[in-house]
Subunit: 397 residues, 2 copies
């Protein structure tokens, strides 16, 4: 009796659940510490101490009916003002609280903006590999997700194919940098060319094409890598942000959308996003967390921990002969499978108690994603297992 | 450039915003304490002290990467287990954690279950007057909301009309008791007849008709009124619950769905609801709040406060000649407008600095909703203003 369009998704979900249960099964047999689970993007670095301190202060200081009460659908004005000021100081932008809409994480924000924008049959373009849920988010509102194929040399966007795939039906382009699953940061020159193409195509088609930038990993970058702030490169840019990774609060569901004044029909779109927040059932972003993040805009999680993990895992795997672009951000390695069907590779890896996600889940078969937001010990102990796995594959190849 | 189906909703939203701004304008001129704003269902009784204590304990005791980390889409198993046990103790049910899905409030839960159930064109029946957002929730998934007209004598469901409107396309029936906007609690005899009709029609059509019970006001009842627990009367019942009112936490967005084993295709539906939670962008209910409510299942807000408000406002208005069913629950009075077009009445009331919501927003013109979740002083000070309003209308009628 469930909805037809949910049946396939429930079947896929069973596959994910099966993997999860396989992890539990292995942990039951060998002990949790002997299972090398790289399948989940759940931060293992705790939230900064300042988050806890902010929670205590807010609970002590704020009047409960205000602290836990409904806010406007867009969130507390003072929280949005604080975030706008912080962005302006960082990026030289000129946002006000009107440009900020607090959301139930980045996933909530993406649903809100897609609901606000999409008419049935309109297209959203994205670059493979991409976060697996994008397709479902777009389909929720009758939209069609079109992929630009991956450049497996660099995992930067393929701009010629992109230009060719833009059409009068393209309502939005959805990008994610630093990227899940590759960890790649799109370079400024790529962003400039992307913006130039979009400007040109908007004129050619006499349409508006929104660029939606999904940025949960903005602060997770290594070695001083700069992540261009996209509203400065292309006027019709909307930013979706989340504190899930920067403050290690993924379960709390707190983030925001930025809809700049420069965006076409900005005022109407801001109102639509507020309405969408309400009618999709979010109503408002969780209020205590709104107040907490406003007090922690300068804080971030300990990135050096992820950086050490990245270095150790990347060095270890490449020494063993595995091939992978060194990520500049996020907490993922996207490793080339030694056999074309990476699902086979994932299955074999399980025999060594290593859990990874097949790249086909991200629109890029032949690769596997390893989330290195795990303990350093897990990485050190996993490497000898990867060595056995490498022997099985890489000597034979 | 916004989505076509959002344009009307943005226009309606502007009307609500205009009312909100009118309130602010009046407060600016006359002072906030001299504006009698009965328009918002935002609890004014603070969360119980136990909520704050639970928040402190949880923050002190729980490991941050677990406390703030992703949970399964359905929520922490131990939280769901605690809620299942609490329901079983209260209602003699036999739920396990598998039957409980934590949601982003009741609004989030309703969206999740409608996404899980509805195919485009399928119908959802509801009884007028009803919460204004139901239509949008159903439309989000291509469904059609069909109203059963109000029985303005009792505001109990009109069951003959209901039976006549059930059809092979009816996928679900959505009810809300204690009711927003009337405060009426559907009686046990009505529930039994409703269940009997549904059983009969399921057989006649060879379909499954789900009964979705939206219960944010379950605990807000006066004078020992009993609210039947619907899973005991009809097998295909799904309950949507929220802590927004029972613990005065509306901004925190925390509630749950109950999908009992007895429900047709229960296992598939539970999985679909978990998937819907993910792909609609909720991902999981806010984690800190999950932990807090699990420690507060026995707690509730101070209902005596609302009860005094109810009595004073009801007695005051009826003495002035206004007509209204005495509510047994929730924190609303649904008052008959002295003129057929209640919007005119609302406009006149503004001249006396009284803000109310027209009943047509709830599918029941000719009435106005007063939310009495305000300070007692507001009610006492508003009554002389209502007296002036009554003189203008009731003597002339």
């Amino acid at each position: 009796m469930i909805a037809e369009n949910m049946k396939q998704m429930v079947a896929n979900s069973s596959a994910i659940r099966a993997m999860f249960e396989e992890g539990n099964r292995l942990a039951g047999i060998y002990g949790k510490e002997n299972v090398y689970d790289f399948s989940l993007g759940n931060p293992n670095v705790p939230a900064p101490e300042a988050v806890k301190a902010a929670a205590f202060s807010v609970l002590e200081e704020e009047e409960p009916t205000v602290l836990h009460g409904y806010t406007t659908n867009s969130g507390y004005p003072e929280v949005r003002e604080r975030i706008a000021c912080h962005l302006n100081a960082q990026f030289g932008t000129a946002f006000t609280k009107e440009n900020i809409i607090m959301t139930v994480g980045a996933a909530g924000g993406l649903n809100v903006i897609l609901k606000s924008l999409l008419n049935p049959g309109e297209e959203v373009l994205t670059f493979a590999p991409y976060f697996a849920e994008y397709r479902a988010y777009v389909n929720n509102y009758g939209g069609i997700l079109t992929e630009v194929s991956p450049d497996t040399e660099t995992f930067q966007p393929k701009l010629e194919e992109f230009e060719a795939k833009l059409s009068p039906r393209t309502k939005a382009v959805l990008i994610n940098t630093p990227n899940n699953p590759t960890g790649v940061v799109y370079s400024e020159s790529v962003i400039k060319r992307l913006a130039e193409i979009l400007e040109r195509k908007q004129k050619e088609f006499s349409t508006t094409i929104y660029l939606i930038s999904d940025e949960p990993y903005r602060e997770l970058v290594y070695g001083g890598t700069q992540v261009p702030y996209l509203t400065k490169y292309y006027a019709n840019t909307i930013v979706g942000y989340s504190y899930s990774k920067s403050l290690s609060l993924p379960g709390e569901r707190i983030g925001y959308l930025v809809i700049p004044d420069e965006v076409k029909d900005s005022r109407e779109l801001i109102m639509a996003a507020a309405v969408a927040t309400r009618i999709l059932g979010f109503v408002n972003a969780p209020t205590l967390q709104q107040k907490i993040v406003a007090r922690c805009v300068e804080e971030r999680t300990d990135i050096s921990y992820y950086e050490r993990n990245r270095n150790t895992l990347y060095d270890g795997l490449t020494k063993l002969g595995f091939s992978c672009v060194k990520p500049e951000g996020a907490f993922y390695l996207f490793v080339k499978s030694p056999v074309p069907d990476e699902k086979v590779f994932c299955e074999t890896a399980k025999q060594y108690r290593i859990l990874m996600v097949p790249g086909s889940a991200f629109g890029c078969g032949g690769y596997v994603r390893l989330a290195y937001c795990v303990s350093y010990e897990t990485i050190c102990n996993a490497l000898p297992q990867f060595e056995k796995l490498a022997k099985e594959y890489l000597t034979a190849v």
